[in-house]
Amino acid sequence: MKILIIEDEAALLSVIRDALGREGYITEIAADFDQALDKISTYEYDCILLDIMLPGGSGLELLSEIKKNKKKEAVIIISAKDSVEDKVNGLDLGADDYLAKPFHLAELNARVKSAIRRKNQNGDHKVQWRNITLDPDNRTVVVNNADLLLNRKEFDLLYYFVTNPNRLINKTSIAEYVWGDYTDQASSLDFVYSQIKNLRKKLSTAGADADILSVYGVGYKIS
């Protein structure tokens, strides 16, 4: 899987590259508009992470370029602006997702995986890890060939873990992911704890070949 990261901030670029590299993706980078345009028109990628504000031009221009060339890449816009208009414009132009800075890397992973999964035309859209299969479109889970009934938050949680297997995801990141985050983080982290406890119970009862482990009270990890 090849991912192109278009981002002018070198430090952020390296963080994203590191994070995606750990997931086994091959990453390429472009730090400005021309470089990005060059790479887009020359190579094929599975996913493109696109910053909107770039030296030399707008990310949205690049996006229309990608779409004009009927490229099949999944495009995720990464923007510091988090403005509704940008989001709407980006999605209208054919972006697959929109991620506002600052984001958790686990969330980026989840989004990249979703975007690639949705673009995957000749396969099923399900996410599988060990004997757990999630169908994000129908929000159903199959463990050990049997349906597992989860409530909405539990499904979101499991999806988050499965798209970030074997990685430590900290509590705040989990809370923000399942909670959505309009303004304040309203829930206490106890809530996350109780949700995870329920999920663990359900997974082990269903005979899942996975467990969610607490890591020193800092976060959780599925393995």
Partner: protein
């Protein structure tokens, strides 16, 4: 103090001033006229005197007129000796038998000598008509005063209305003006220099304030934006670091503390951005939003949290509340208030949502009213909530402020009530 209008204010002084001027003028006028009248009468009396004395020389019978009768004079023989022969003129009262009344008269008393005998001659002229004159003058003056005041009233009314029209127009334009709002203050070409100056100065002042305001807003927004990338870098690096697996528990916990602090900073920055975007009117798109639907959807969304906290949430729908506004903001508004109520509720307490056709109210149990002046202030927060940025309610207020007829208020009635109503 009750404020007087400009018209009444000037009118009051004008009426008083005219009263004073007319009073003084009436006094002076009266004195001059009376002087003139007496002068006239006195001349007449002197004439009569000369006439009588001359007449007495040829007709001694006249000397026997010793009482006032038809003749309006009397002559008294004086005892022997020398007498001063000067004229004395004075006002007096005299009984007039014909009229059977005392009358004011002007009396001339003199002494003349005929054949070595001194006689006193007293001649009078009635001054009754002068009283009439004074009366008439006074009446005329009062009427003049009334006429003057009335005409000034009228003139004042017309003139002030005309002259101050631009002023009132400026006031009218100024009244709905709001800093940073869309309506601009436009200059009309005024005919009166002062008003023209006033309007130009006002426009210049508004321009200055607007530009400072815009700059500051821009600054806040830019600062918040610019912070997003470094925040993303820092928290990303920490996340990667925590995931490395070679860290001890102690180290991991330390990093987590830093990460939590960063997360708070991220949330605060996001809230600030949200606030500045609301205030910069960046949520323009509007549609008819059904709040009943939003409440039900969000209550569903927060269901697991509600269950976890064991709170009773009840939605009482007495009507359908629909309002033309930005959908995203409506969701932010409701979710902030709902989260606020849920977070501040303890186990086994209730939250009640009441929706009517023109308002909705979120009520949660509480014992002590909150300080109304304080809760809407930015960065204010209760003691128990370490995760709050203190911006949630001010975001709600900013959203309601965005829509002119939407009111947001807090009151305490069997619990904390936050109400959004449309007028």
């Amino acid at each position: 103090m009750r404020k007087r209008s400009l018209k009444n204010f000037t009118l009051r002084y004008l009426v008083l001033a005219i009263l004073g001027v007319i009073g003084i003028w009436a006094g002076v006028f009266y004195v001059v006229i009376i002087e003139e009248v007496y002068d006239n009468i006195d001349d007449g009396l002197k004439d009569s005197k000369d006439h009588i004395i001359k007449e007495a020389a040829s007709d001694p019978g006249i000397l026997n007129t010793n009482a006032f009768g038809i003749a309006q004079f009397k002559i008294t023989k004086l005892p022997g000796g020398w007498h001063e022969t000067g004229n004395q003129i004075y006002n007096s009262k005299l009984y007039i038998p014909q009229e059977d009344d005392e009358a004011s008269v002007r009396m001339l008393r003199t002494v003349f000598k005929k054949d070595d005998q001194f006689y006193r001659l007293e001649v009078y002229a009635s001054t009754v008509e002068e009283d009439d004159l004074i009366e008439n003058i006074l009446t005329a003056l009062v009427m003049l005063y009334i006429a003057l005041v009335l005409s000034i009233l009228l003139l004042n009314h017309i003139l002030l209305k005309k002259a101050w029209k631009p002023f009132y127009r400026i006031l009218e334009k100024l009244r709905p003006y709001k800093l940073g709002a869309a309506g601009k203050f436009e200059c009309a070409d005024q005919k009166i220099r002062e008003f023209d100056d006033l309007e130009k100065d006002l426009a210049a002042m508004i321009q200055r304030n607007e530009s400072i305001y815009t700059q500051q807003k821009q600054f806040i927004e830019n600062a918040a934006h610019e912070l997003q990338t470094p925040l993303a870098i820092a928290s990303g690096k920490l996340e990667l670091f925590m995931d490395e697996g070679s860290l001890t528990e102690r180290q991991l916990l330390k990093i987590e503390e830093v990460s939590n602090t960063l997360n708070r900073l991220k949330r605060m920055n996001r809230s600030l951005l949200m606030l500045s975007k609301i205030e910069n009117n960046q949520f323009r798109a509007a549609e008819k939003v059904n709040f009943n639907k939003i409440f039900n959807e969000l209550a569903d969304e927060y269901d697991s949290l509600i269950q976890f906290k064991a709170i009773q949430v009840q939605i009482q729908e007495n009507g359908v509340f629909e309002f033309e506004m930005n959908r995203e903001l409506a969701i932010v508004l409701v979710s902030n208030l709902l989260k606020n109520a849920i977070v501040h509720s303890e186990k086994d307490k209730w939250v009640e949502i009441t929706i009517t056709s023109g308002s909705f109210r979120i009520q949660n149990e509480g014992t002590l009213p909150l300080d109304e002046g304080f809760i809407f202030e930015r960065f204010s927060k209760g003691k128990q909530n370490a995760h709050s940025t203190g911006l949630g309610l001010s975001i709600c207020q900013s959203i309601c402020n965005l829509y002119g007829n939407m009111r947001f208020r807090y009151f305490f009635k069997e619990g904390h009530c936050f109400e959004v109503a449309v007028s």
